[in-house]
Amino acid sequence: MSTTAINHYVDKFQHLQKELENDPLQQQRLSAIEGLQKTGFPTTRQENWKYTDVRPIAGKTYVDSNRIPEKFTAELLDSLRLHELDCHELVFINGRYSAEHSRLQALPDGVVIQDLASALNNHQQLIAEYISDFTTAEDNGFTALNTAFIRDGAFIWLPANAVIEKPINLLYLSGLNDQPFASHPRNLIILSENSQATIIESYIGLDEESDYFTNTISEVCLQENAQLQHYKIQQENMKSYHIGNLRIAQAANSRIESHSISLGALLARNDIHSRLEGEGAEIMLNGLYMAIGRQHVDNHTRVDHLKPHTRSHEIYRGVLNDHARGVFNGKVIVHKDAQKTDAVQSNANLLLSDNAEVDTKPELEIYADDVKCAHGATVGQLDQDMLFYLRSRSIDENTAKSLLTYAFADEVIRQIRLDPIRKRLEYLVIGRLPEADLIREFAA
């Protein structure tokens, strides 16, 4: 057990307590740090963490990050911005909000887009009402750690009927640090009745050398008929660790499209859990994970259908090369009141090397009797007939393999409606394949 690390965090917590005055989240923090001391970090003996060994994270004592690393420049930020995307942008550097680099455009009346630290002063009550202490059984040391150290993140609140046309980009940049550091971003997103927004969470490594740990939580509350397009794009550097949790509560007729693209980090774990709490609530889960070298990527999704006429539609695809390891676990629970549930789930994996590995486990638990549910998982290699067909048309083996790999991943990417994001992802995905320049023509 990683008691050293936990003592380290408890110690840091005591310092933090002294720093914070009139802390509106004191109760949540206290129960979280108690929870962390009690449960510690998850181990592979726990079913939910069976294939993902977090000892490299749990065994390390990460420091806090500096406000802005000296080597950080405006040019570097400029090179990472997605200029084609006209958006509201909050920039976080090593977990800390940077007002200087952020830019917010005019917003409809009553809409709040703010860094969480400011919002904790301005919107105390709202935050205290919605933020969770993450103390249920399925929670773990990481959610507790995040909650105990809530400091920065985004607070997004839409009043009833508000529609934000431009996407909101939360840009989390990490790196350029000498010592291993951790950040615990916390985003709170509340969409009131009939409101609509598009939110992107981007996690990007600033360099290839820094050792860091991003431990992020986003809580989303969708009230009746609210609609959210949510993107998470994980491009941390290849030496880092990323643990991310997206928790969604959905009222009647609300709809979320969740797109999760996981490309970076030495070890990445992405959890998404949605509760469909009102009739007619709907979630689409669209995911792609690609891993090379010795990367480990784990995606856990869970949807609770609690009310009738709720729908979930999930497609996750994985591409594993070299010695990479993938994990997929998708759980759909249809509770006994949730008649007429419509749930579809599929997970397909492409193994490009003999040493790559994936563990996939779709799970369906159904306690209602009038439902439509389907699920399936596949693990395979590139189709030899397709490969031969392309080669017989004079396309060399590497290009043909890349083309087929891209076509496989593109099934997920093409679902993305936001053009600049889709194009950027196509660019990133192709960039990871051999003969990238040739393949780009196909995606044009």
Partner: protein, 251 residues
């Protein structure tokens, strides 16, 4: 152009071709006929270079080079084209981009500059009429959602664009109705050229009513047991394969 000598081929440890000889010259159309299981499709696949077809004995010489050692894409660049019996669907790979990549790979191999987009599209528009393929199919994924006939016509269309030196048609006629058969035959006939050889592999002589071959060969149990002209195909239709086998056995 193509010389096959004493070719023995094993697939999954099973001997399929057992001493096949064949000589094909530029400008000729050869038909290879034979009962099911005689090795016709094996011959097509081994010429195109599919994995798992092991040449255990004999040789294949194409344009004075050893074909057996060439990768499939090199064969294609050197002018070999296989029209597949069962063209595979490739979701997510655009038909027209694949063809453009194929075209430019061949041109690069010959040291020619790539065709620009306009030149290529003009070529495509020209050739697509030849096989009466709906233009909207071109922008779909390769063969995805195509009918059986459309898949076969797409093969001939690709062949027309790529202009191979040696085209191998593997049971292109199977599953085609008479109208589609005529379209395919017209497409193939328009490609007959003194620089080009065509090998038509077929079970029935029906296609040969429309594409008249220079030579007809009967393949049985992994060997060519009789060769002749157009009339041989008609005899086979009338009398079946048994008499050829008996004749060969007696010889």
């Amino acid at each position: 152009m193509l010389t096959i000598k004493n070719l023995h081929v094993t697939v999954d440890g099973k001997k399929i071709l057992k001493g096949l000889n064949l000589d094909v010259h530029a400008g000729e159309v050869h038909a290879i006929m034979g009962p099911n299981g005689s090795g016709k499709s094996t011959l097509a696949n081994v010429l195109a270079g599919r994995d798992g077809y092991e040449v255990t004995e004999g040789s294949i010489t194409y344009k004075n080079k050893n074909l057996v050692e060439m990768a499939p894409e090199v064969r294609a660049c050197e002018g070999i084209f296989l029209a597949f019996q069962y063209p595979v669907e490739i979701p997510g790979v655009n038909n027209i981009y694949m063809l453009k990549a194929a075209m430019n790979a061949i041109r690069a191999w010959r040291g020619e500059p790539p065709l620009d987009a306009v030149e290529f599209l003009n070529l495509v528009k020209d050739k697509v009429k030849l096989v009466k393929l709906k233009e909207e199919l071109l922008n779909r994924s390769v063969n995805e959602g195509f009918s059986g006939g459309e898949k076969k016509r797409n093969e001939i269309f690709q062949m027309a664009v790529l202009e191979p030196a040696l085209a191998i048609l593997d049971e292109t006629d199977s599953g085609l109705d008479i109208d589609a058969l005529k379209i395919v035959a017209d497409g193939v006939n328009s490609l007959r050229h003194h620089d080009r050889a065509i090998i038509i592999i077929t079970h029935y002589q029906r296609l040969l009513n429309f594409i008249v071959p220079d030579q007809v060969h009967v393949l049985s149990d992994g060997k060519i047991i009789k060769s002749g002209h157009r009339e041989l195909a008609l005899q086979l239709e009338e009398k079946g394969y048994e008499w050829v086998k008996q004749e060969a056995a007696a010889a």
